[in-house]
Symmetry: C2
Subunit: 354 residues, 2 copies
């Protein structure tokens, strides 16, 4: 739940050149987001949250960050370039709109949206203000194995990518979750929430700008006490170029697994395959970042933690400063989000008799 | 292509008590089928194929088998209880009907059918004759890891099964394949053919008697010289009890993989997960039958070749002799086949621009 990757320091700016205010500490992902920003050279100037306990907890990890009195203080400070936030999901879009209207760029935990209406409004505000709305798709951007997969595809190691399959199981930790976690209006549904990582990966690895949601499903199989929780979801898509995608996400990580989830990505190319075992190599090693590459020449297994880095954060900072779109385009972000919201909206709700 | 598992000898009958005629040696699976029958105590009395080369090749492995002059000789021999065959797929059903009408039971390579019309006719003949129509769903029945998975589920080790995902990649070996392999009328389409293994596993592991095909797709991504080959297919289903299934099958096993395909099955239960790495543990060990079990207590990795056996073959023989349905019911076989034929029939044909 508070999984917060750390990587190599690789500053793209001088100290003080890219100052960030952190707010809305509702999800522990804010720690990973902060790590990525700091490692790329950002200066976290402020933290603000109405809940002093959350602020105190954040400052245990990041003690040098000054506590702001209000969000306004952050938004009105001309030195602040970006606001990073992990609000309750259905509030992320409105917060981002406010940040962009204040002339700052925005970096939100995923999912950036819980409804297509929110997405439409943020698309409009982003265009109007010219500011940036970045989403922390951590399951690719903050996983070195996943970054390497993109490089291997780029190098042509597996030929042309025809298929991607993603598994995103998560540990429920029911007793540790806030109330919003079980309220669908607030968390948005499992496909909108943890599904958003998945579709971003598909578009990226297959080089598609758009795709069609063919079918999707959600269910509450085993949590009748929290009926609005969807503990399972899946979807299948076809990209514009004909590559296909399937992903499943769930809250059924068994207690005996040594980490929060056995996240996998399987990529099939015309000349090879890549399998990512992101957070452990189950039954083998508890280390992160296992990459299994099979090509026409043979099989390679690499464990790449510390070797690849997280180029996203530095690219994002430079994009904000230079007006470029090297990290990813705004349209890629909005499209990944649109597709997961469509998958959520059209999902078949399974009535379990199991 | 000629992958033919061998297991422990575990005779359920005396020598000569269950005599089998083998015919239609069009697919190398006939060797695995023969191994399974012999290990369970069957006596292979005859082999017949119009092609003497195929007969000679079969007798290199099974030299004690007498060559029959014709299929009629097998069908008219009152000692013969069963005919085992691996005909060209679109001929399997008609051959089975003939066998059953001759008063023998039938054991065919998968897929047993390439059309719903064939299935309807065989259902009728099976009912009329009271004989048995068995299908060699080797990817479960002849894989010890897959047999163990069924036992672990039965023991409740992973709670209630909510989801199954299957990967059935195969090596194409294009230059070694017979002509029928590339003719859709004859092989039936990728979902009807190698997809048939998959749906049988889903019904079995989830305990469903029926399911709905939600969506399915087929494509020829990279084999324009054989346009009727489908080199990719997938489908997603929901079982009667609400458990879901996704599978993908393809002909893209990279040349560098040490075996014909990295077949996997992933089973998610409410209290644990099972992953099967059936034919190798890629990048780790080239042995068969790796089972990764994660429960509330922890993670177990077992490599179970030689430990579990293949109970199907003995059960099938006893079912034929005793009129029982211990191996599997006829309805289970027909339903698994019906669903893969429906998945094939309704499949979206992807136009690749990759």
């Amino acid at each position: 739940m508070n999984y917060a990757p750390k990587g190599k320091v690789n500053h793209v700016v001088e100290a003080g050149e890219f100052q960030v205010g952190v707010t809305a500490l509702d999800h522990g992902h804010i720690n990973g987001m902060t790590n990525g920003l700091i490692e790329a050279g950002a200066t976290i100037k402020y933290v603000y949250d109405p809940d002093p306990e959350k602020v105190a907890e954040y400052r245990e990890t990041f003690p040098d960050v000054e506590v702001a009195d209000s969000l306004e203080q952050i938004l009105e400070d001309p030195e602040i370039k970006m606001v990073a936030a992990a609000a309750v999901p259905n509030l992320r879009s409105a917060l981002g709109n406010r940040v962009m209207k204040a002339g700052k760029d925005y970096f939100t935990d995923k999912t950036g949206f819980t409804s297509l209406d929110q997405l439409a409004e943020t698309r409009r505000v982003q265009k109007e203000t010219g500011r940036r709305y970045f989403v922390y798709f951590s399951e690719r951007l903050h996983v070195e194995a996943a970054v390497l997969a993109g490089q291997l595809i780029e190098e042509g190691r597996i030929g042309k990518v025809i298929q991607v399959t993603g598994f995103g199981p998560h540990r429920l930790d029911k007793e540790k979750r806030p109330d919003w976690f079980f309220n669908k209006e607030e968390y948005g549904g499992i496909l909108a929430d943890i599904g958003s990582h998945q579709i971003e990966q598909f578009l990226y690895y297959t080089g598609n700008e758009d795709a069609e949601v063919i079918a999707s499903k959600v269910a509450n199989y085993d949590n009748p006490d929290v009926p609005e929780l969807e503990d399972y979801g899946d979807a299948t898509l076809v990209g514009d170029n004909g590559a296909t995608f399937f992903f499943k996400v769930d809250w059924f990580t068994p207690d005996g697994l040594p980490t929060w989830g056995d996240g996998r990505t399987f990529i099939t190319g015309t000349k090879g395959t890549i399998e990512l075992r992101k957070y452990l190599d189950v039954g083998r090693e508890d280390s992160l970042d296992h990459v299994y590459l099979v090509t026409e020449e043979g099989v390679e297994h690499r464990q790449v933690t510390g070797e690849i880095g997280f180029p996203f954060f530095g690219q994002m900072i430079l994009d904000c400063l230079n007006g470029t779109e090297e990290a990813m385009t705004q349209e890629h972000i909005f499209k990944a989000q649109e597709l997961c919201l469509l998958a959520q909206e059209k999902a078949q709700v399974i009535q379990s008799k199991i």
